[in-house]
């Protein structure tokens, strides 16, 4: 097994393991903090795929900003840090069975697919190249995303604003 494969399996295990903590821990703060190793594991996989820019953004936005934001929300909610909630209900077994079946199916598919090895080298994913692609071939998607963000803003304000 190559070093790269070992690194991938370790990172995948970290991501999966802490992800399971996020969705099972009865303590909401534990769930929020367990997001950090999940995001960092994904970051490691991005680095393995030589997508360094995306990896840096992942650390900045997800591991940094979003986790902190979630913790702030918990802190500012009344009784937030003390919330204890069971995250599973009586349908947990069914859900686990479906998830296991789907994972088995995907693994079987991935193993049986003949992966094409294309010639050539990877294009460089520098910030400059990504910016060019946003304002070039992907312009419509880039601008459309801003519309989706506008909708999220409007929605957040409309739902959360103070009663008169």
């Amino acid at each position: 097994m190559s070093g790269e494969a070992i690194a991938f399996y370790v990172l995948a295990a970290v991501t999966l393991g802490s992800g399971v903590v996020v969705v099972t821990s009865p303590n909401v703060v534990h769930s929020a903090v367990a997001l950090v190793p999940t995001f960092l594991g994904v970051t490691g996989i991005y680095v393995l795929l030589s997508a360094e820019f995306v990896a840096v953004i992942q650390v900045l936005i997800y591991a940094g900003a979003i986790t902190v934001l979630i913790l702030f929300v918990i802190m500012l909610t009344e009784g937030g840090t003390g919330i204890r909630a069971r995250q599973r209900n009586e349908q947990g077994a069914i859900g686990a069975a479906v998830a296991a079946a789907m994972a088995g199916l995907l693994i079987a598919v991935a193993v049986r697919t003949p992966w094409a090895r294309l010639p050539g080298t990877l294009p460089t994913y520098t910030p400059g190249a990504i910016g060019q692609s946003f304002l070039g071939p992907n312009l419509l998607v880039f601008e459309g995303t801003s519309v989706v963000l506008l909708v999220s803003l409007v929605g957040a304000i409309v739902i959360a604003r103070k009663e008169e």
Partner: protein, 480 residues
């Protein structure tokens, strides 16, 4: 990007501009107050202006060869044209039918109209996608406003619950869609729909396509991804329910059309079987569940599930016949479903929505025109002549028979017979004598024009379907 690219998306741009104008007008009229006080119809007029401008921009562009823009991501062809028409009809009717309700229940008009327009633009983007990334963006732009619209009634716990439920399940389904995009890209090396046809037939491609169906099937409320529909339809404010019931179907089926008959004809035997099975399950479950409902919103939710099953017949049959039947059905569905919801929007039971079947009793005596429109829409939903629902179902079943899917057509016809019972029950209550004293009928000229347009659509498409049939057949000419 060039001017040619910009002119391609002119209808979407008109909607986005009108949405911003509606928001700004609302902010301007409200001033420093926390809640909007402008209950006037200004936002509705702006939204209606945007829809009319988009329709005009759609109309002035000559129908001809497909035009591709934005580095091959966006295509404006016959299918785009019909999908745009259906989406804009849904937006126009949605805007016209809601002002009385918004005023009565003090919902924020500016935000309502802006979100409605942006959601419409999302459905139109889905119909114009030539790339999986754009299809995903369209799906997001379609569904995000719908999540907010479902939760728009802030004083109602049920509305909040509906919004949260829709958001959580929708995010889950969207995650499957994105995973599907990644798998398809991994299998074929491209996200370009026009190049998927040459992709190697590997298991990974099949897995990816199955995940894409989960994402789109959730939005269309296909069984087994329909569980959200009754609760969200019931909890959401009724204008939002009415609009989402049609626009989500327009967007989702436009995406399915782009994906299956158009991009992956070489895999037709595989996905045809899968979609046919989903269609059968959807038609049976939707119609049987609708039989037991006493709440009209829930009844129409299950009826929406059932109709998603009928429309899927056309996708599963594939080819020009199936695709044109899908497009025709979408247009008809917009008119008849919004017509039915439009009548309910006029009613009020002691400061609440009148959403029980018995609330409709004696409607004929108090609002004869509304009762007649409701009856016409119910007859059309049941698929009986001389209404549009009959012709639309006929096209679908004919497409299934042409593709030698007799079982599909048979299940469709039998479940339609079942559906006659619950649709005509609603119609007969509305046309019966007797009065539900607590229920008041609000008259509104704006909503009246909207209802008249919906009813005219239902009858026109049913009696003289020639022009629209020609339009949808021309739209799918390019299909193999």
């Amino acid at each position: 990007m060039t001017w040619a690219d910009l002119s391609l998306i002119a209808p979407e741009l008109a909607l986005a501009a009108a949405a911003c104008a509606a928001l700004l007008q609302d902010a301007w009229a409200t001033g420093p107050a926390l809640e909007s006080r402008s209950r006037g119809p200004a936002a509705a007029w702006i939204a209606l202006g945007g829809v009319c401008a988009a329709l005009l921009l759609l109309g002035v562009r000559p129908a001809g060869a497909a035009q591709v823009g934005f580095a091959g991501m966006y295509v404006r062809d016959g299918i785009t044209r019909v999908v745009d028409l259906a989406a804009l009809a849904a937006a126009g009717l949605g805007v016209m039918l809601s002002p009385p309700y918004l005023e009565r229940f003090r919902l924020p008009a500016g935000e309502y109209h802006a979100l409605l327009l942006l959601s419409t633009a999302g459905a139109m983007l889905m119909g114009a996608s030539r790339n999986l990334v754009l299809l995903f963006l369209g799906l997001e732009m379609l569904s995000f406003p719908l999540y907010v619209l479902a939760a728009l009634a802030r004083r109602s716990r049920r509305s909040q619950e509906a919004g949260l439920k829709y958001l959580l399940l929708g995010a889950f389904a969207t995650a499957f869609f994105v995973y599907g995009v990644a798998l398809v890209y991994g299998a074929s090396g491209t996200a370009d729909l026009s190049r998927l046809g040459r992709a190697p037939d590997v298991p990974l491609l099949h897995a990816g396509v199955a995940f894409l169906v989960i994402g789109l099937g959730f939005e269309a409320a296909l069984v087994p991804f329909h569980a959200w529909a009754p609760d969200v339809y019931e909890g959401a404010p009724m204008p939002a329910t009415a609009f989402m019931s049609v626009i989500a179907k327009v967007g989702a089926f436009a995406g399915l059309l782009r994906l299956f008959p158009q991009a992956l004809p070489q895999l037709a035997p595989a996905w045809g079987q899968m979609l046919a099975a989903i269609a059968v399950a959807t038609m049976i479950l939707g119609n049987l569940a609708a039989l037991a409902q006493s709440n009209v919103k829930r009844l129409l939710a299950y009826s929406g599930v059932a109709h998603a099953g009928y429309i899927l017949i056309g996708i599963a049959s594939g080819g020009p016949a199936g695709s044109s039947a899908v497009l025709y059905y979408l247009l008809v569905y917009v008119a008849m479903n919004l017509g039915a919801f439009g009548v309910l929007l006029l009613l009020e039971r002691r400061g609440e929505e009148a959403d029980r079947v018995e609330d409709l009793a004696g409607l004929l005596g108090r609002a004869p025109w509304a009762a007649v429109v409701l009856a016409a829409c119910m007859v059309s939903l049941a698929g009986l002549p001389p209404t549009a629902g009959f012709i639309a179902k006929l096209y679908l079943f004919r497409a299934a028979l042409q593709d030698h899917r007799v079982a599909l057509a048979l299940v469709g016809a039998l479940t339609s017979v079942v559906s006659v019972y619950y649709y005509l029950r609603v119609a007969s209550v509305a046309l019966s004598a007797g009065a539900a004293d607590a229920v008041a009928v609000r008259h509104s000229r704006f909503a009246g024009v909207g209802l008249a347009l919906a009813a005219a659509g239902v009858l026109w498409l049913g009696i003289v379907p020639g022009a629209i049939t020609a339009l949808v057949q021309q739209a799918v000419q390019a299909l193999r």
